[in-house]
């Protein structure tokens, strides 16, 4: 079972995002970068599948600046064997261009499965995985919370807003991991050390000219301050009144 996991380097979710001077990109100063948290579920799942089947290898694929290699090494420490870094400094916002570049690389690799995080927490577009699957002409299950592999087929449980769907797909296939799929492991020190020596192939990414452009970035509206209506039982009628008439929640 050969698995490719696509990972993206994103700002840490705890980072206070500042919009840069041009208003079109974030200011990277003081920002800590991490593996996209959803991609960690994908990596963990790949490792677990491999551990269960006892064969095959895990390849990491990442597109981005040279710093992407830092997070690739973290994926190595968790248990991936090798990987390809598609170097790209353009910060191209066009997800289709990214998907095409990834798909082109994936066509050169042998795999039974391609795993993604359900979305990257920086732009939250949740589109690349689907686009890649389309370009590769393989099925994709998104928001996967459970996976079972048997006889060249995968049974995947996906979460939707309405409930759960259980799908069976023929491999090769793509999957996009949702939180809850597993608990990503904390790497052992020996594996962190070994990760430094694992092979990492660097290539220049082939990127189409973007058909999408960021025009402006804006902060979300500031949250209005909270209100204390009173204390104890006496405050209940007023609270109910406000929830009903002002907040229109009940």
């Amino acid at each position: 079972m050969n698995i490719v996991v696509c990972v993206k380097r994103v700002p840490d979710t705890e980072t206070k995002i500042k919009i840069g001077g041009d208003g079109k990109a974030i200011d990277p100063a003081g920002v800590e970068f991490v593996i996209n948290p959803f991609d960690e579920y994908a990596i963990e799942e790949a490792i677990q599948i491999k551990e269960k089947s006892g064969e095959g290898e895990i390849n990491i694929l990442s597109l981005g600046s040279i710093d992407a290699q830092v997070i690739m090494r973290k994926a190595y420490a968790m248990g991936a064997e090798k990987g390809v870094h598609l170097n790209d400094d353009s910060a191209n916002p066009d997800n289709l261009a990214v998907a095409k570049s990834l798909a082109a690389q994936l066509k050169e690799m042998s795999f039974d499965m391609v795993l993604f995080g359900k979305q990257a927490v920086d732009d939250d577009s949740a589109s690349v995985a689907v686009q890649v699957a389309q370009l590769l002409n393989i099925p994709i299950v998104t928001r996967v919370i459970k996976m079972d592999i048997a006889d060249g087929k995968a049974t995947a449980e996906r979460e939707s807003d309405a409930g759960k769907e259980i799908l069976e797909v023929t491999l090769p296939a793509a999957f996009a991991a949702e939180k809850g799929l597993n608990e990503p492991r904390y790497p052992k020190l020996m594996d962190i050390m070994k990760a430094k020596k694992k092979p990492l192939e660097q290539k220049e990414a082939q990127m189409d000219a973007p058909k999408m452009e960021i025009v402006e970035m804006k902060y979300p509206p500031e949250r209005p301050p909270g209100k204390i209506v009173g204390e104890g039982v006496e405050a209940v009628p007023e609270l109910v009144n406000l929830l009903k008439n002002e907040a229109k929640m009940i």
């Binding site: 840490d12 705890e14 206070k16 003081g30 052992k188 020190l189 020996m190």
Partner: protein, 669 residues
Amino acid sequence: MLPIAGKIFLLILIALTVYFFVQRAKYLIDLLKLGTPEDRFDNPKERWKYVLGQVLPQRCATKNVTKKDLAGVGHLLLFYGFSVYVISYGFHITEAFYDKLSPALFGVAFNNFFYLLLDTAGLVVIASLLWAFIRRYIVKPDRLEPSMDAGIILVVVFCLMIMSFSVEGFRLLAEETPFTDWAYMGNAFSQVFANMGLQESSHTLFYVFWYLHMIVVLGFGIYILYSKHLHVLAAHPNLYFHSTKPKGSLEPIENMEEAERFGASDITHYSWKHLLDLYACTECGWCNENCPANVSGKPLKPKDVIHNMKEHLLATGKDLLAKKAEETQGDEEEPTLVRAVVTEDEIWDCTNCMACMEVCPVAIEHVSKIDEMRRYLVLMESNFPAEVQTVFKGMETNSNPWGIGMSTRADWAKDLGVKTLAEDSEVDILFYVGCSGAFDDRYKKVSVAMVKILQAAGVKFGILGTEEGCCGDSARRIGNEYLYWMMAQQNIEVFNGYNVKKILATCPHGYNTLKNEYPQFGGDFEVVHHTEFILDLIKNGRLKLKGGLAKTITYHDSCFLGRYNTIYDQPREILGAISNTNLVEMERNRRFSFCCGAGGGRMWMEEDRGDKINEVRTEEALSKNPDMIATACPFCMTMFEDGLKAKNAEDKVKVLDIAEFVANQLIDN
């Protein structure tokens, strides 16, 4: 003087004793050699001074004497009483071969005095044995568990004393010229035997009793090596080889990049000194009695950990030695110590408070043993309480255990007019704020109070702002040495970048690791805790304080401040300087202080076994009816505030840091 056949018989007895003794001793020493190397041979002068200073005045045992627990005095009596007997057995043997080699060799006065001393020592030994017997089997204090070993020894030594008196008695009865008049117990026994009509058979009975008591003495010499009384022989070297490093500091992992194993999962992963610790254990139980995990009903009992490790070593020793001889000594698939002998629960229960080590009479190093097993679990198995993963990740990404965005690290100081070293590095002291001081809403107030004090005293100081990193103490104590190492490296680099010489820390965990452990990585700075620094400011008249705070205050000793760094007086002196009322002390204070429950990375773990340690401690504080609880550590503060909430006392009792007490008492200029 013995007839020739008697001499031969005695020689055979001695030869047998030596044979069995050497056999066993060699085995025990071979087992020590299974341990990893460790240099504890430096500084022999200081080491001799230490061991003599502990043993001769029996400081090892008497240091723990309290009104409730006088056993240390009993040990002193037994130790000196029995020591006189050990000398007398020497004389017995020499005299047996050549009768000039008796105490009389040194003159009649010495002889008389020696027997006076000996008989008195015998009574002292009997008295302390009875005392020990009553304690063990009637009073039964918690820390003593009735053991077969202890019972055998009490009975045997008691019998030995009676036999010794009998030997004296029969000899006095049998010999024409009494060897001494001052042997009052011997004379008394002789009188009794005379009254019993044993005058005629006294000669024979003397020999019978003499051989009998020599057999017991020699047998006892061998038995020591098989029992908890091994401490009689092992405690002294163990005290000699005690750690001369800063108290409680953990050792770094050498050559982390190349190492093939981290921490300890098998007994042979420990150094020979750690193994010697096991032999030295007297099973006195003082560690258990002072261990917050044990007291709060958790599985961890430090004495049991040591004892079980000893039993494990002795039980598997032959196999281990065989493997070593065949050079098949390797790492087992499954750890043979972790889980098999010391459970994961025990390993994670420890708060690293070092109470066990503080009270241990024989310098056993419990905490580092446990932390070595944690290293194994974390670094080799990635196996630790689930909630700790976010802590590690928070430290990795944002250099604080909460994982709060590191760009906000200096937000607490925004409007205080505090400069960072990047803005002005010409300062006398760096205020290392620490993660709690920077991110914990409650403890940020302590940072603010500290700034107020520094500004009032006109101290030229700076902070590192967002360049400051987590000290890493929690990571190290949880067992993640790699993460700790990265934190330490990073901080040392930043400190050196600004040519920092002196550092002020409020959190005792940062204080301790910066001061005592960063030198392991080349970080040599003068580090002071705010309680030390503030007291100096007060003494030098640099702070104008109102004084006269009329509140009842109890001060809680932080483990990493108190036991780790012997800072007990400074916070109390500061409180004394501002308070009208006497400080009330909790039952357990200073070196006996009871941990808040948050040390050793326990701050970040769920406490789901036993009672909550912080609630136990809070109850203890509340029993003194204080208006305020004074702390000098952010973790202690959190634990008390939570404890007070659990006890519904948060409105009645306030928790304040020493810095806040002082800041509140500043006279505004």
